[in-house]
Symmetry: C2
Subunit: 237 residues, 2 copies
């Protein structure tokens, strides 16, 4: 296989939700790269633990992300990583970047891909996103037949949240941690509180599912939390 930069989705948390293709690429990699915190801990690497080759079988290229929310600091990390990955691929190495969930769905991989596209061969292996992990955990169809479906971020304005809740039968609200109060208010204002369910840390040890969000307090929750809103009364078709 010619040297490539390959973004690989490892799914949202359950290590068995890695695909056969992701497993194969991870096992063939010369360099495995991932986002890590300042201690070097990486959620994506932890999710990939079932398929990672034994230590020493590959080089690691962790992207240590600063805690700060400043984009400039993150951009410097991406710039440096892109240069390192570029030179590794030119030297004939296979570089696999591990991504939580799906690589191109609200993920950091996009920032590396934008820097390397056109410069080196790239490939993307899709992963199970939190959308599909959430509906599976709830055993709730995300969409049926003619229904339409929107994904919004908890960071959106009250107006944008309410508009999506009014216009689409199914709505998933991601990044619901800090803005839980605003989300609960938008659900209330659009009459959809009873149609909403709440999840955090899907497929991880700390997984929590709250089917009746009346019991959810208005305190902020973790980053990996989301609401799934669907039409309550669905008939058999």
């Amino acid at each position: 296989m010619s040297p490539k930069f390959i973004g690989v989705g490892v799914g949202p948390g359950d290590p068995e939700l890695v695909t056969l293709k992701a497993a194969r690429y991870i096992q063939q990699a010369d360099i495995i790269s991932y986002i890590a915190n300042s201690k070097g801990e990486s959620q994506a690497k932890s999710i990939a633990r079932l398929v990672l080759p034994p230590a020493g079988g590959y080089e690691e290229l962790p992207l240590l992300m600063p805690m700060s929310e400043a984009r400039a600091a993150a951009n410097t990390v991406y710039d440096n990583a892109a240069i390192a990955i570029h030179s590794a691929i030119k030297a004939g190495k296979q570089v696999v970047f591990l991504c939580e969930g799906d690589p191109l769905f609200f993920g950091s991989f996009a920032y590396l891909l934008l820097r390397l596209q056109g410069e080196v061969n790239c490939e993307v292996v899709p992963g199970i996103s939190s959308l599909h992990a959430a509906s599976s955990a709830l055993q709730l169809p995300l969409t049926l037949l003619q229904e339409s479906f929107a994904v919004v971020s908890g960071r959106h304005s009250f107006e944008k949240l309410a508009a999506a809740l009014r216009q689409h039968e199914s709505v998933v609200i991601l990044k619901a941690g800090r803005s839980r109060q605003r989300i609960l208010a938008a659900l209330q204002a659009t009459g959809r509180t009873a149609e909403a369910q709440y999840l955090e840390y899907i497929g991880r040890e700390a997984e929590r599912i709250q089917r009746d969000i009346q019991h959810l307090d208005a305190e902020p929750g973790p980053y990996f939390s989301l609401f799934v809103v669907t039409k309550q009364q669905r008939k058999h078709h």
Copy 2:
């Protein structure tokens, strides 16, 4: 493992996009069920070919779907299948239902699940949906940071398509086959033609990607076709 009805996503076409968990459940199944056409051919079963045990290692329960679009005929098939699955599980068997893509995203599995939930133990294993397969094939981020994202069906009205195209940065239009003309008109009316890309049969032999949809004629296309629309000018963040 106690007997269960398990819906398992096998991904959109590439047999390597099956998860380790789906593979394990398929290999442990007593009965493997799937939608088939009147000749008994099943797309989902074909996608699962890398992980299906040798013939004879399991019983098969195909749901032969009538060609007609009448819901009543399909409902009869689901009713019968639900009864057969229910009795198999009560007899201690593990029943795995193979689903193209993700089981709960526009899939037929929902109709079986609605009939069996509360009656027998159920579980759902998420799969790679066409959303994520499409963005991987295009190497195109579906969403970045504050962007919002909608999924609509080509069967929706012109007005509904246009509203989604106006309100969301990213839009995926599924089931784009028969209504290609209406979709092209809605893209034109909302000024998003240049931001749209077209795909059909992702990950299959007949895969086709049209990045410049100006070259797409207005004839109907296959059922498994979709448009991905994203903001054209994305800056590095």
